[in-house]
Symmetry: C3
Subunit: 471 residues, 3 copies
């Protein structure tokens, strides 16, 4: 017998009745505010072409590494989930079977954000009335498939229904931004902007780095094999992105290392990087120098800079070889900020006109390094908890770790940072609920008055993010 | 005037009435389940011979490093506690005096797990009715001494009364397992199994390493001075242990480093290790290689592998010199897993038939490294919080740090990991209560439904541990 | 319209009614106990001369780096806050304008301890009835200015009104302690003692190190350029401090590194340090050696040793150049204790007559390293959470992280560690409230009985600190 799927209206609020009542009141002030999504990885083509989404499995499971990493940990092969192999080898092609596999293992997600997001997508986006179990899998699959064929489930219709005011995607400097152009020219009244993500052309360890840099030169008409031409080319692409609505850059380095090297050293490192002869240490120094160069350009062109350090990418050699990047095998590492960022901060940390948003995959740095740094340097702000920590407990820990040192106003609201478009309302809802839960604690123990908490709740949900990202 | 000793039936449950009621209901489902104790350090001879336990001090204090480390920190010498000196020098021999010293300082344990365990042992195991204070010390001593003389307080009777279904001890590969044999042959209907702990023969820094390896060769008839003979000897002992009921191995390395070296390098390292000429770095590489070798053998013979890294053993040079190992001076250290385990995981991480259980003494790795690794690699599971973190707060932090990324089903239930046999029911009771308290939070804020939480509670208490350890 | 400023009597207590009631009862036992302030940085001249404090801005804002670091992070220059430039350049000289800037940005402190302390100072010390906002800034400024002109707001009157029994300041070995002498000779019945802070003469990286050491030699008549003369000079100054009421030393090193070098190496390092030719590693080794020397001297003269490691001082090169030290740009760093302290502990860790109080700016070390070390070594105790962690959440985390391993009795009560004299009652009040809140948790979930919690609360507030600091 199937169990009803109901999203309790008090979910994620503290159990204590005093705090719960406060949280509920605060949430009432923010739950219907528009969604600002300043950083994410959805596909702009969806909104450019506005064609229907594919089947439930290819929409909800195949692109979601949160889901398939958990299934994989319990012995479900990526082939069974329909993930394409690099060698074109056989994988499951029946989306219904992929969906059933997910339903069979859905109990694994108990206590995880994926459970919360999935329930929300099913109940709110699709109006599913029963819980997902092996028994209800087919019925729900049919229901979603049916929805997806309707006009009100097309990308733009959902975007509007979700109350999204503006959403950023992320593109390589080599991208021609054709989808963003098409959206702009279509006269649609919603904003889908891009963010400048230069990893493919600033990280010597990125697959195809030398080719990417050569292509960068071709696109811009600069000699990208020379240090000055390379910098010019990057500045040109930043300007191009900015013309197409971009307000921010994003940097996904293995560490937060920055550098401030002499020009001669930069030239030498670039040559080695293009020749593929960098040692690991030299590649790290090149990336470090590029963080500082990007900060310098941000001071010039006003793009807000985001630093996402600390992921050991593609840790699973076997999966990387057979399936490529982003297969759920990126693992956080211990990340140092205080020494790492000093070269960059020595040059630009005191610039009140520059905004650098720091993210972390190492929660220990929140209170120890990040809040003290952001609570001092005018150029620094703290991004919301990222990736594995974009969760109820993770968000609460973040507020508890940073607020006492950095306050609320050195943070920048929420990022959903997702490829899973349908989960965006749920992710923002979780963030709003947890911020209200945290504020309710402060009100309940008289660290803050409720009228102030109301103001802070609105700022965290809407004002801070718009201001920080210049949206 | 003595105060009554009463174990409140709601102890360790959240104070909020809604959560407390849920926790109480969940606990009701698991409190009487049999105890599965898959990892510990009790003495198998107790159950082989079933002779009465000694006096209260030698039963409860002298072997318990949690107790004497705290007393030592407040200036009580180990001699006063009756701990034997290596030089045979004078120590307290009157167990009643040792007991009185403990009672005098019992206030030091306020807020610690030792307080919880001790109260439970006194109240539940011995039926003591008054709190332990300097004034009641003698009365309680007499009462326990009296109990210990009775048949119902012999090791096997207690084992049965505690509801233990199966318990693992830990032995060196050099152990002949005579006690386990005797238990098996005795026809007793309870299981006491061994675990294979090869540190004395795989860690070049272990006291007597070369002699131990030589002895390993003698026992197995292999040339343990050659790399292939050494590996054969280890495989042979694993087989011998398995014949005697062993289902798991255990590895207590200073770090989680693994390696995948060429055979020639292994041969060289073994020779140096046997000659006592390893540098610290070479000793570390040898241990690292042995983790990978042990994983390979586990894939062959099916023994579940436990890795317990990160303890700086015998930190107090003075105590080590005068009293030897395990004197309460083992201190946790910062422990890295992501780079450390990569060589091992590159070879065996994708094996769904292999189970490697990771433990930690560095809580920062829980959410940052361990949950992401275990939430991805099929071969990995997470052991419960260990040693200093086997406590109410430690267990709660563990669940809060790992569940959102790894879920419940990449964890393996509770380990008591103790030498203190009489504390086993209390330790399992604490774990059950805290798991129920955590689940009650999830239910109260509507992250999980209560029927699911009931299922999870039973899985955490009983099913997951039996499955993970193949018991 | 201004809002009333009211300090709720239940502030910082848990919201759950059961826990709140317990916390309230426990707090009732300790709220009126005298303040023992064993470590801080107030100016002894205040109490020697007992002249009125200056205007509100120069009393409450200019010396408080917690305040100006936050304002600076939001683009308020230090010049606007009236902080003196090293080059004598123009800064704001109107204290009322500085105060208005603070009031304009006071919302930035929502959720921070500065908010709690400021509200307490305004309401309790000055009897301000309205909340600080841009609109009420002038009115409050006038009120405080008026207060400061009255005799009951002079330093000694406030000291007495605050219920301070004894307070420590911190002085360099080069200080002649004239203010302390004057206080002693004045016949005042309160105690203001000094603490011996030798950083300027034991840290080769301290500004003016060689000159400082030369001056040390002059003061003591020792040849401070020789190792033995240098040590003699330090011992002589310690004796001088002790004669003037000092009971403790304090060491603010970048790391917790200790060393136990041969005399020849010490001589060489001192020579290099005086010549200014130390490498960074040599400077670190010199400081490390000096920690061990200071411990040795503490064993001789009985001064309690405090180690405050882990701050990256003067991280902002621009501010350091223009404004000097202590400009809110000191940032915590990852701090290791287990290996770092071993040389010192190998020599003196087992001395029950020695007290070394460890502090931390890296909360990860609390449970992993510090509690296990202090819960074992007789010479070690744990100082309260320091600096950025001297806050409601920080104090709660501290108790939760260390109590289960080290208990309460290896901690030493509260330190306010402040330059902001008027905030001292508030800081102690926060500490008392949070200790009671934590104890209320233990009582509510039956880990501790309420009569014991009462005893612990009094010990944490009064007895432990007096005993640990020999006050």
């Amino acid at each position: 017998m199937s169990k009803p799927l109901v999203l309790n209206e008090d979910r994620l609020f503290p159990s204590d009745p005093t705090m719960r009542a406060i949280a509920r009141r605060l949430y009432g002030e923010v739950k219907d505010l528009p969604i600002i999504s300043p950083h994410g990885h959805t596909n702009p083509q969806w909104f450019a072409d506005d064609t229907p989404f594919p089947d439930p499995a290819n929409l909800l499971i195949v692109p979601d590494h949160y889901i398939f990493r958990m299934l994989y940990s319990h012995g479900v092969t990526l082939e069974r989930l329909g993930i394409a192999r690099k060698d074109g080898g056989a994988v499951e092609t029946d989306p219904r079977k992929v969906w059933r596999t997910f339903a069979d293992k859905f109990y694994l997600f108990r206590g995880t954000p994926t459970r919360i997001w999935t329930d929300h997508v099913l109940a709110e986006v699709f109006g599913v009335k029963v819980q997902l179990t092996p028994e209800t899998a087919d019925e729900i699959y049919d229901h979603i498939e049916d929805c997806l064929s309707k006009p009100e489930f097309r990308p733009r219709a959902l975007f509007e229904r979700f109350g999204i005011e503006v959403m950023a995607t992320t593109e390589s400097p080599l991208d021609d931004l054709r989808h963003h152009k098409k959206i702009l020219e279509s006269g649609w009244d919603r904003r889908v902007v891009t963010a400048f993500r230069p990893d493919p052309v600033v990280d010597p360890d990125f697959e195809g780095f030398a080719d990417n840099v050569a292509q960068l030169g071709e696109i811009t008409g600069e000699d990208s094999a020379s240090w000055s031409g390379y910098l010019n080319a990057l500045a040109a692409r930043r300007a191009y992105f900015k013309q197409h609505g971009c307000t921010s850059t994003d940097h996904g380095h293995p560490s937060a290392a920055s550098a401030d090297l002499a020009t001669g050293d930069c030239e030498t490192l670039l040559s080695k990087a293009l020749a593929g002869t960098c040692t690991p240490d030299e590649a790290e120094r090149f990336r470090a120098q590029m963080l500082t160069e990007m900060a310098r350009m941000s001071l010039d062109d006003g793009l807000v800079m985001q630093i996402h350090p600390g992921s050991f990418r593609n840790h699973n050699a076997h999966l990387f070889e057979n399936f490529g990047r982003d297969m759920g095998a990126d693992i956080p590492t211990c990340t140092e900020y205080v020494h790492a960022l000093k070269p960059l901060l020595d040059r630009f940390g005191n610039e009140a006109d520059l905004t650098i948003i720091l993210f972390m995959l190492d929660e220990t740095a929140q209170g120890r390094e990040m809040a003290p740094l952001a609570g001092h340097y005018p150029a620094l702000r703290l991004g919301p908890p990222w990736w594995f920590f974009d969760s109820a407990e993770g968000m609460l820990r973040f507020r508890r770790n940073v607020t006492e040192t950095a306050g609320f106003y050195n943070t920048v609201g929420f990022n959903d940072d997702t490829r899973a478009f349908l989960s965006i309302p749920s992710r923002h809802d979780v963030a709003r609920r947890i911020d209200c839960a945290y504020l309710a604690e402060l009100v309940a123990d008289h660290r803050l008055e409720e009228d102030e908490a109301r103001e802070v709740a609105v700022d965290l949900t809407y004002n801070l993010v718009k201001a920080a990202y210049k949206l």
